[in-house]
Symmetry: C2
């Protein structure tokens, strides 16, 4: 059929050549045109553009009679929304427009009075509620019987609306169009779709389609079909069919609905109408091939004849999304790069962790910041020691603390999940939780934490005790009572295939932050290209190291410090040797000791007494010295390179441990080239001083062992000043790694541990668009990184630039890092796949823009 | 006398036309040439250049015989050092060179054997010790009698040196030159002069001068004279004369030395030799006029005839420096701008505070960081409450604390000086101390502070108790036992004259940081051009405000917060009214509430109990809530505009108090235009939100009072991000004030309160050239200020830019501020004069460079 002269792009019959496009008419209109082009049996359809619908909302109607003239005389119509992105929602479809007393009579002849009355009754009720906006209660007592119910419904309408039910199909259509257009412009609808990413001025198109009735004589009914399982992504014909139904009723049809394919569980469409089923399947296969996507098809059978009413992108879990994309590419339907673009990197998170099932019962005790994704169930414990005891008994436990500190590390390793009252996205618990892939909720401040009394009070006042079972849903941030249903992580071959394609595309490196052998193993499992940040401080918290560490802190001379550190040396060497062995010659970037020394000192009476005994000092003296080491702002205090300069024996020992481990590990495998990173640098001279000592240690080790090795010395650029002075700092550094966590803290003047108190208010009020600890602030922090990269490269040709810390795994932040010329990002092992895919997508989009794809 | 042909610039007879310059021959040689040009009776003098002396040190001697030929046959010579700056030190003068057995005989004839023997004996001893480097002990038992002593000395020399005393004048002179040249090149001498600012390669010249003997027949003697008092700068002939003496012996001559001018205290040169005295006075007046400086003159009378041997710049206290410069300008000898350049701004500090007298006995108990200059004596107290009690009894007290916190404010006001164990140049105690002009030493960590037990242990182990009298010398950083002698502050008319000349020259504004009416009065006394920073938090610490403040903090609703803040409103309004009245229409920039709320909460058991009573809550609940408000890094926490956004009732109340005070104060005087400053901004939206509310408060006050007023709203740029985003932030701000204290903390990632622990090590090791809290780090922090100024001006034309905080009063930092285009600096009231003079000097130097002066 050709467009008639009065067709315009604003109101157009959908034909293979009509001017219909997603940005002007919406995705549904465009999809229907593609189905028409495939010669599928699509009922006659007219598309109304965004601008037409916007006009309708302001009161300017199109030529409704003209629209009606495009359709067979006496047919019924339906109107469906067609927005640019189907996820943005929209008003519900209105079916059976045109139904009135006269057509009821006609239709009764054709399909029987009961079916006709059903259709008319439904239309009256839908129209009353959604178009005339009458109170739904008026239909509460309507009889089920078709014809009696119809009469009651028409009377109820007349009573409430104070006029008879409109009989003119033109008026009906006009009112439906007007009500749908206005619903789209309503404030609630706008806010809802903006929350899903729609722009302020997102438009709505509408499609007016001739109804295939699905009720009447012969085999009539409707259903939906798709070729894949939405949860797993595997090939499986799924959907339902219900005789004598319209729209999507089959999905709510319960046991009355048929399976599609022959199925042991019950009767199927394939058995009922083998020809229609075969035709439907052929259409579905064609749609997958030509629409290059797994679609869910809405179809109607009218007296045995198949009609395809609509096709929408099949819903899919993250796991299914991966499998579907890979299958489409492997079947040659889409190229690999397109398969990569179709998977949302954020969604990968769910694949890498156990999750609370979608259909689980959630008994919510409270909520906090979703700091580390995944879910775990266990018994409540309130101390790190109890967590270890619990692990020793083989019982899963949840560690509940007001906050965590480095001394809780072993307890955190023993726990299945972590819950804290305080802290934000980058508090200690959150960072460690993400690093270990442990579900974690922080800042759950609306619950009450009586850690001393071993009580936890839920937001609604329920009291929980040690040993009670709870579930931490680190993906949503909810604390749940008991053990809801879970779904397991799924990192299968298909996932690995997708990742290998990503690696072939991306042009920025991805390393992992890994502090322990377990982390390193995870990093390798996720194919990280080395370790970008190995924090060494945890190595000093092990039981056997803490006492020498404390003796070292209290030592009065460099000589004494050296002697106590010598006790720790062999243990550190063993730590590094194991890391190097696991990483099999891949680069390992080790950050020298960073935290303030007072983190290693006890603060409670028992701990002070123990320490006094261990060091053979009076408790009063120990207490005085511990107190005198306290700091107002430990974050900005005596730590990092400041310790390296003023208490150089620690770095000396660490450098020796690294170099000796380098030689030990190189003996059995690929030669190791360790990278040594100096934290918290703010001035060039700090680097010079540390470098001189480390070079001396290297020379000594070479001499003692009679073997050569190389190493790279670099700087963690995490103060604004290090970025500003990067040119001169780079003269002494093989690499600069931007520690965007601390850099964000300092650029904003905002402690990550304290920001939790107001960050959610701040994001809600739009003061910050995003939590800058979560998404890199490209305007402020980003400018410093950019300056740092530019100046660093000006200072030393061939210098390696990287970003480590939480932002390294964030897709938006990776885009920025890549744009400013960073060589690699480093993130938690569990975010490595996300980073790899994000990086690939960025490279692909660049190639597409430059016409290479 | 003309130069003879063999004269070169390297070894030259000083004549009016000889080539002699300070940068090549040193200041003494140049000054002597100027005296020669004035036709003063200067003995024949030869100048050796820096390069000649450097050659001598390496072993290459000039033509010594040639030098000797320039002098009368048989005369004695002296050699004196002539470095570029007399402050850089140098080897001592050597007199009487050329003395030997033959000349002893000749001289015995002329001036008597005793005098000749005295001269010879002194020369032998000086030569032995300083030239031949013999052990001084060998002269321990030499007889006083001239001739016997001479013989003993010659024998002692011969015994020790294993050769007779050298008789050749040429050899004597050569050895003297060599030993002086080498002394200058020694490491100790170099380090000493570098500490005074000399460059690595500073040179030494030497002057060889014919001796006027000062011993012999007729009136012979030597002395020094200057026309001003070195301490006060007032006109007063000062100096001494001693018959039969050489060099500067008259100054050590005790009661034997004569006064110069007729004096009731004893005999004078004026009486002894009126003609010589008159001639000397005439020479001195001529020198002041023509050398354009107050000089100290070294003179010798030989048989009644006056010789001028040397002139050096008269030493002067800071007070004298001001008076001398002003007098020279008022006498038309130098222009005003030169008078301004001659006063070191740093030295003004001493004029503004009481000081420990130079000649006081110092019994040092310990030392710390000299955080606020001036000295005060008082009894030790260990708590703020005791300080108030002490003040109530009218007893001066010294507040000794481990550190101070805002709740100590009233105690600090009551104390005469402050001493703390912890903290650095910008810790709370230091900042408040400087603001109040209170002597303060912080970071005295080598003393032991047992504040609970009310004991203070000195560095050498002495125990001090409450009530013991000590003295805090905040200028030197020393803690002294007892009450040493003091000198009072001197801010007199001459000082005001100099300052008025400075104000006429400078082109950058100077305001004061002032929090209280007393501060504001000081600011006016020092002619600040308004208040650049009025911190308001102290206003909440007053006894009558603390309880409502705490109720406000614990309130559960905005309504309750408003109600409790309403109690504080009238008191704040009164505070501001008084400030505005004192400042008489000058601008007052008020910073809105900045500190974290937990600073207002008690932390000890007694305080918690009091608070529980006052608020009628269980202690356990109060304790829990106080604890839950604690922060890891309060500096980077919930404070400043973050409170303004999330607890807006505080700023609402403050704005109302400011506006109502504006109307109240404007009624009686010049109309007040208050400036309101938002602290800790890091994002534009923070400013928008606060501004909207403050505009609303202004509208409400205008409406209620039926009167109009204007105000200016601005931003304290103290986070790196505020500087980077200054362009957009400026769109909502009438002014930006760079808070360089916090900005330095964040740019370096360095807490000012914790930096004390390692800052001195860092400066010693050259990691930082200077403490960046003391001198603005122009490389890093400065770049952010510069970017902020540029971007802020790009964002809003005519925006006012300023720098507040400690750096505002530092001369080096002011130079930077002026260079980057800041409109005014604001600093502690006591630093205002320093800033005014520094700013004037900068403007003058610019004019000189561009030829306008």
């Amino acid at each position: 059929m050709q467009n008639t002269p009065f067709d315009t792009p604003d109101v157009t019959l959908i034909t293979p050549t009509a001017t219909v496009a997603t940005p002007t008419h919406g995705g549904r209109a465009k999809c229907l045109q593609r189905l028409v082009r495939l010669n599928l049996p699509v009922p006659q359809t007219v598309a109304l553009s965004f601008s037409t619908v916007h006009q309708i909302a302001t009161g300017v109607l199109p030529d409704v009679d003209g629209i009606l003239q495009r359709f067979k005389d006496g047919c019924l119509l339906c109107v469906r929304p067609s927005s640019e992105d189907p996820d943005w929602g929209g008003p519900g479809a209105v079916l059976n427009i045109g139904m009135n007393d006269a057509r009821f009579v006609e239709l009764s002849d054709r399909i029987g009075a009961d079916a006709a009355a059903q259709i008319y009754k439904r239309f009256v009720q839908t129209y009353a509620i959604h178009v005339a906006r009458l109170d739904p209660d008026i239909f509460d007592d309507i009889a089920d019987d078709g014809q009696i119910g119809l009469g009651q419904s028409l009377r109820a309408y007349e009573d409430e609306a104070e006029e008879g039910f409109p009989q003119s199909p033109a008026r009906q259509l006009a009112e439906v169009l007007r009500s749908m257009a206005r619903a789209w412009e309503g404030t609630t609808a706008r806010l809802l779709r903006q929350a899903k990413g729609a722009p302020m001025d997102a438009g709505l198109g509408l499609v007016v389609q001739e109804m295939a009735l699905g009720l009447g004589q012969g085999e009539c009914g409707s259903g939906v079909l798709q070729l894949v399982n939405s949860r797993t992504g595997e090939n499986q014909i799924t959907g339902r069919y219900l005789s004598q139904s319209q729209g999507r009723e089959a999905l709510d049809g319960g046991t009355r609905a048929l399976f599609l394919e022959r199925d042991p569980r019950g009767p199927s469409l394939e058995e009922l109408a083998p020809e229609a089923f075969a035709e439907l399947n052929a259409h579905a296969a064609l749609m997958r091939q030509r629409l290059r996507e797994e679609m869910q098809i809405e179809f109607t059978i009218e007296n045995g004849e198949l009609h395809i009413l609509d096709g929408v992108r099949a819903k899919r879990s993250p796991q299914a999304a991966v499998r579907i994309s890979v299958a489409l590419a492997e079947d040659g339907i889409i190229p690999r790069h397109e398969a990569l673009l179709r998977v949302d990197p954020h969604a990968l998170t769910e694949l890498l962790h156990r999750q609370v099932a979608d259909d689980a019962d959630r008994d919510v005790l409270g909520a906090g910041i979703a700091a580390s994704p995944g879910a775990a169930t266990g018994r409540i414990v309130f101390t790190a020691a109890d967590a270890q005891a619990s692990a020793a008994r083989g019982e899963a436990c949840i560690l509940v603390r007001r906050e965590t500190a480095p001394e809780d590390i072993r307890g955190m390793h023993a726990a299945s999940a972590i819950l804290t009252e305080r802290g934000g996205m980058t508090s200690h618990a959150a960072v460690i939780g993400r690093g270990m892939g442990l579900p974690c909720i922080v800042g759950a401040a609306r619950m009450k934490f009586h850690v001393q009394r071993k009580k936890l009070i839920s937001e609604d006042g329920r009291s929980l005790s040690e040993g009670d079972i709870i579930t931490i849903d680190g993906t949503s941030g909810q604390i749940l009572a008991g053990a809801p249903k879970m779904v397991e992580a799924a990192q299968d071959d298909v996932f690995r295939t997708l990742m290998s394609w990503a690696d072939a595309e991306r042009d920025i490196g991805v390393r992992a932050n890994a502090d322990t052998p377990a982390d390193a193993q995870t990093a390798r499992n996720f194919d990280a290209q080395g370790i970008g940040l190995c924090r060494t401080e945890h190595m000093f918290f092990e039981e056997d190291r803490l006492t020498p560490m404390r003796e070292m802190i209290f030592a009065n001379s460099a000589q004494d410090r050296k002697a106590t550190l010598a006790l720790i040396l062999p243990m550190q060497r063993a730590d590094f040797t194991e890391l190097f062995r696991i990483m099999q010659g891949q680069p390992v970037c080790i950050r020298l000791f960073d935290p303030p020394l007072h983190e290693f000192l006890p603060h409670d009476r028992a701990g002070l007494r123990d320490m006094a005994e261990a060091l053979d000092m009076p408790v009063s003296e120990v207490t005085r010295r511990v107190e005198s080491m306290g700091e107002y702002n430990p974050m900005l205090g005596m730590r990092g390179v400041r310790l390296g300069v003023t208490v150089p024996e620690i770095y000396d020992m660490q450098a020796r441990a690294i170099f000796e481990a380098t030689l030990d590990a190189s003996r059995d495998g690929a030669p190791v080239v360790p990278e040594i990173m100096i934290p918290l640098v703010s001035a060039k001279r700090e680097v010079e001083i540390v470098r001189t000592r480390i070079d001396a240690v290297a020379a000594a080790v070479r001499n003692e062992r009679g073997k050569d090795f190389t190493y790279r010395l670099g700087v963690m650029a995490e103060t604004p000043r290090a970025c500003l002075r990067a040119e001169e700092i780079a003269q002494h550094a093989h690499f600069l790694s931007f520690g965007t966590n601390d850099l964000t803290q300092m650029t904003y003047g905002l402690s990550r541990d304290d920001a939790g108190r107001f960050m959610s208010d701040y994001v809600k009020l739009g003061v910050f668009n995003e939590d800058p600890f979560h998404v890199l602030d490209t305007d402020g922090v980003g400018e410093l990184v950019k300056l740092g990269v530019q100046r660093g490269r000006a200072g030393r040709e061939g210098i390696t630039m990287s970003v480590c810390g939480e932002h390294g795994g964030n897709p938006e932040s990776i885009a920025f890092c890549r744009a400013v010329g960073v060589d690699y990002v480093s993130c938690s092992p569990f975010r490595v796949p996300i980073a790899r895919l994000s990086a690939a997508q960025l490279a692909i989009r660049d190639k597409m823009e430059s016409g290479k794809y």
